[in-house]
Symmetry: D2
């Protein structure tokens, strides 16, 4: 996300004095609530979906993720790279290639 | 997310030939599954949580969001800004300030 | 659910002195967490799934629903019938037959 | 759930010819979607919630659980008792009493 997009989200929150509601727990609830609305776009069909609706719900997930990153003062790239290092170790290419199995079943 | 982090995620997927599993529907399911694991960090307490665990689960959500953005060839900043424009209209500062009500109850 | 099954769940909770953790909010979080674990059985395939795993995760959802019913002193049949009356009105047979559309798009 | 409530749900589905949409996977998605709507009642506050709204959303979860039980021809009491046997073994009273820790951390 570009810095100006991040700044817009932060201004949106501070203008409304909403930081008081953005506890980590409330953000975690909000992320799963929006993620379920995203899933609702695919509730009855895997193939047909309203792309505009998908964009809006995915954006909602991303905004709440940004709010949680801000609240916990986390760096997005740092935590994603930390997790990718774990993922790369858990799913070695030679074992995981072409398979959707969970790491403990590879 | 920095371009090199995005590239690392893409390489992780392509090295494992996992693009075949990354239908938009499967990504939406994956985002909500990981979001619920994030929520699990706060299942029994709002205040006490394992920060390292939170980082890992939030990173998982962000990685799957990136996969879905890639699959649908969406630009993160574009969809977030589109949604923020909607949010700013739905939650006018003078009405929403200091309140956690949903827009249709303001 | 039979009364003896309900009693078994209640005894499980009271033997462990867990009622203190079973706030309505914590139960709602727990239901969505278990529901996401149920969904995980179908994460990569709609058709192939581990039936035993599905049974276990669905049971977890049902147990937490029972805990929430108990906590709020709700009668399962009463709330389900109340909702079915709403659903029957929202989805008239002649409009909804054979369609998966949401009621506001029928 | 009483037999007449179960019959009402089944008639609702068959009158609308909706069985075609009720794949196990779609039911799992539906359960998590409704569970997240239930959680939304507690999004910004643990203590204040709209009880009527909670009843409606919990009922939705229960109806979809019933649909999934029906689809897979599962007996609710059988799977819940099977899982309770597992839970009782995973959470021995002497270890778990008064603690909200996960079984692998007891």
């Amino acid at each position: 996300m570009k810095q100006e997009t991040i700044d817009r989200i932060r201004k949106f929150v501070s203008d409304r004095d909403w930081d008081q509601f953005h506890s980590p727990s409330n953000m975690a609830k909000s992320i799963v609530i929006e993620a379920a609305e995203l899933l609702e776009c695919f509730q009855w069909s895997e193939e047909e979906y309203d792309l505009q609706h998908v964009k809006e719900e995915l954006a909602d997930v991303l905004v709440y993720c940004r709010n949680l990153l801000d609240k916990l003062e986390l760096d997005e790239d740092e935590i994603v790279n930390m997790k990718m290092t774990q993922n790369e170790a858990k799913y070695p290419v030679e074992k995981a290639k072409g398979k959707s199995d969970k790491y403990d079943q590879l």
